[in-house]
């Protein structure tokens, strides 16, 4: 089980590197799909089978399809490496790495390995999530349905041809 996590984590990191470093948008999209599926496997290992399946159905199976269709329609080509803002690259990326180093340091300090290996499991099945969604969190649930309606209307209006 632990070995599976490390293998899948390595796969996720490699695929994420590929998303960031590939010049062709289609390859970035395919690598992002690999990251999403790898994360779904990690969710399975974390006692969250329902969220794993939802991740694949919604994220990898619907949102990324949208991305791939838009890339196909707009015929996004290989990127040329000219860019006019050196600031983002030469200042931003080192700062991001500084942030990463700080995060890793804080995590290592705050959650030492020995004390958190025997964590209690959690009930992640659909029944539990269903109960929580419809009992404690029913208001956010209804609000997100309105949000989705608004997003659908917005997307249709924005992408229409000027009539």
């Amino acid at each position: 089980m632990a070995a599976l996590f490390y293998i899948v984590a390595a796969l996720a990191v490699l695929a994420a590197l590929n998303v960031v470093l590939q010049r062709t948008p289609v390859y970035s999209a395919l690598s992002l799909i690999v990251v999403l599926c790898a994360l779904a496997v990690v969710y399975l290992l974390l006692d969250a089978p329902f969220m794993a399946v939802i991740q694949v159905i919604v994220y990898a199976g619907a949102i990324m399809v949208l991305f791939v269709l838009v890339i196909m329609l707009l015929n996004a080509r290989r990127e040329e490496p000219i860019d006019r803002s050196r600031m983002a690259r030469w200042l931003g990326v080192p700062l991001i790495f500084a942030l990463l180093a700080e995060l890793l340091f804080v995590i290592g300090r705050q959650f030492p390995a020995a004390s958190t290996t025997s964590a209690p499991g959690v009930e992640g099945g659909p029944a539990v999530i269903g109960h929580l969604l419809f009992e404690n969190y029913v208001l956010p649930f209804e609000v997100t349905s309105v949000l989705i309606l608004v997003a659908v209307l917005g997307a249709v209006v924005l992408a229409k041809r000027q009539v």
Partner: protein, 100 residues
């Protein structure tokens, strides 16, 4: 058994990669994909904590993050399509001013 910190480190690495990609890439759609990568890193952290604390509420939060990400992707891609129709370019250097 995998300790909690390893899951969080994976989440931090993915988040940093997403943020770095957001800064270096020039294509608008790829920038958007790096944002999705950051959202997924955060989802992983939520689920790791849900398991660590023994409460499924973290998973409910992930549910809402996924739903909001879907809405955001739909509207964001519609905006990109509208921008592409006007500017004929997907490079963020050409999209940085409101003058046509």
């Amino acid at each position: 058994m995998v300790p909690l910190s390893h899951y969080l480190m994976l989440s931090a690495v993915l988040f940093a990669l997403g943020a770095a990609g957001f800064l270096i890439r020039r294509n608008v759609i790829t920038i958007f994909m790096c944002i999705e990568l950051m959202l997924n890193a955060v989802n992983l952290a939520f689920i790791a904590f849900a398991r660590h604390l023994g409460r499924p509420d973290g998973q409910i939060f992930v549910f809402f993050v996924i739903v909001v990400a879907a809405a955001e992707a739909a509207v964001g891609l519609a905006i990109i399509i509208a921008l592409f129709r006007n500017r004929e370019s997907l490079s963020i250097d050409d999209l940085d001013s409101m003058k046509l």
